[in-house]
Symmetry: C2
Subunit: 346 residues, 2 copies
């Protein structure tokens, strides 16, 4: 019998209510019991401020009611919106959310998947920076259900949700052409990632479908970031003053490009139209507000969470792979529509 100190346990409650620990457990879990027993147990529990030990429960039940979300960077708005949606789905279901920032280190990603074997989490949503063979191997042996946000080889037996950055880029470049732009530059992020390659494909596709020939001179590859975007834009504009628009691989780059334009006294969009990607809060922060392609981070987060809980609750349904369609948010950085902000007056 436990001594008086330490937090109350089923035994403490049982002793106080004058019943067995089995009855305590039953009452607390809403299984059948005589009204009198129920009353006494509940009263004892209330008086002692009893809270069941979640760890013991997990050990017995084999489930922790914890889910893990692993992504490259907590600070990135795209991942933040995923976190928010995942929370929205899982919290009402009583799951806690474990956050893991991998800092884009592949080995760290693999470790997260491997550590599912420690039974500390019921499932994982993984957002890898790049999917390698090692990833596929580790994912195949994962001790718990995993949903990947990103593109997997067709053969993979893992649920996944992917963005369509090819179509997203096509959307952006097509929009610029419809606005009458012809010399469209492209500031891309790291090219050795799946999205990086896909954006390039989309850029070239959109130009070709309009009968234009992509000019490699108008393409710059750089790291993500406002500063990097400004630098890249200056470089492009120094070398090719004829550029009339620029598509950027994310909103930070686009804001940097906008800063560069301002510095050179180029009017946006009259002399340089700018399009970003991700449609984060930053897009609305810029001046003029940035046209931006939303790759559906929020929706991918929501879908991934739904897939994971379905896999957890439900039976062994087949592997799912969904693709989220991109959406273009048109704002002043391409149309020049001078809206009086938040007042609805042109």
């Amino acid at each position: 019998m436990p001594t008086s100190d330490g937090p109350p346990t089923v035994e403490t409650i049982a002793a106080r209510a004058g019943v067995s620990i089995a009855s305590v457990s039953r009452v607390l879990n809403g299984h059948g019991a005589r009204p009198n027993t129920v009353r006494r147990v509940e009263q004892a529990a209330a008086e002692l401020g009893y809270v069941p030990n979640g760890v013991a429960r997990s050990l017995k039940g084999g489930r922790t009611r914890q889910l893990t979300f692993a992504m490259p960077d907590v600070g990135n708005p795209a991942y933040v919106s995923m976190v928010r949606q995942i929370q929205a789905v899982t919290k009402p279901l009583g799951y806690r959310l474990l956050l893991h920032s991998t800092d884009a280190v592949a080995e760290d990603e693999l470790d997260v998947v491997r550590s599912l074997a420690d039974r500390t989490s019921d499932g994982l949503i993984l957002c890898p920076i790049r999917v390698t063979d090692a990833h596929m191997e580790v994912l195949a042996r994962a001790a718990r259900p995993v949903v990947v946000i990103g593109s997997l080889p067709g053969t993979a037996a893992v649920d996944s949700v992917r963005a369509d950055s090819v179509s997203g880029t096509v959307l952006a470049v097509r929009h610029l052409m419809e606005c009458g732009r012809r010399r469209i530059a492209f500031i891309n992020g790291p090219a050795d990632t799946v999205p990086g390659r896909n954006r390039l494909i989309g850029y070239e596709t959109a130009l070709r479908e309009a009968g234009a020939v992509p000019d490699p001179e108008l393409i710059v590859t750089t790291d993500f970031g406002i500063e990097a975007g400004a630098r890249a834009a200056h470089r492009l504009l120094d070398a090719h003053p004829g550029i009339d628009s620029v598509f950027c691989a994310n909103d930070q780059l686009a804001l940097g490009a906008a800063h560069a334009a301002h510095d050179r006294d180029l009017r946006i969009p009259e002399e340089l139209a700018v399009v970003g990607m991700d449609d984060s809060e930053l897009a609305r922060a810029g001046h003029p507000a940035l046209t931006s392609v939303d790759l559906g981070s929020a929706e991918r987060g929501r879908i991934a969470a739904e897939m994971l809980v379905a896999r957890l609750d439900g039976g062994r349904h087949e592997v799912r792979c969904e693709t989220v369609a991109p959406r273009l948010s048109v704002r002043e950085s391409t149309t020049g529509a001078r809206t009086r902000t938040a007042a609805g007056v042109s």
Copy 2:
């Protein structure tokens, strides 16, 4: 003895290595054992891909190596930078981070503290929107160490880290006066919070210390957000065209104010200087880049994490309460210095 299916346990390893489960545990935890025993256990564990069950470990040890961070809003950049710093401190120490978004609901905050009793987390960093008597009561009975990021009554027996929004505001307003501004408007966030009240105090203090008289007409209270900031600025400028500068309670509001200025063709900073607060990425995103007061979110996160782990590892040292000094980041929205972005040329 466990059957062949299911993940391997100490017993599985013990059987395979031909030793007892105690030896398995010892070897795996680096306690003494004969070289031959070590080798056999390690080999068996490796062959079976054994990973210790973390839940069982936690039940035995009474510690989960999990920490919880509860804040009002995952999307807010200030909290995001706290998350990042908390991770930076706790991850190397082998703690997992449980994220909890309270959506600024007080009852949810209380529940987080109460749920520490379920033994599922070793400690909590709580970022309450407003500290009520109920908070103090619940905090006093917390089952695990808690560090609060925010202002607590002096009597509280809880570790805490607070920002100094009075001094932060003074910094901003004083800076504007040093820039020669005299009609300084103030767009404040919700006034019924501690920071809201403190900013007001700071605003009035800074004006009075310069011999000026605060004009209530130049103060607007509103919700946070870019749109809200734009609306408030328009309202102020409509009523008081003589305003030459505006201090805003966060960067979103300031960006909104900047948009309003652009819409009215007011040059920043020549005709309207703008100062924000939080010094988030948004400040650098604006054009011109925003001068902003950093209240030290990142540092508060780091300190809170350090306090918590100290409380966890260490003995029962006395209650700590630290205050983080604000810092002003001066940019073009007040100085007008036309820097060629990312090129270092004026």
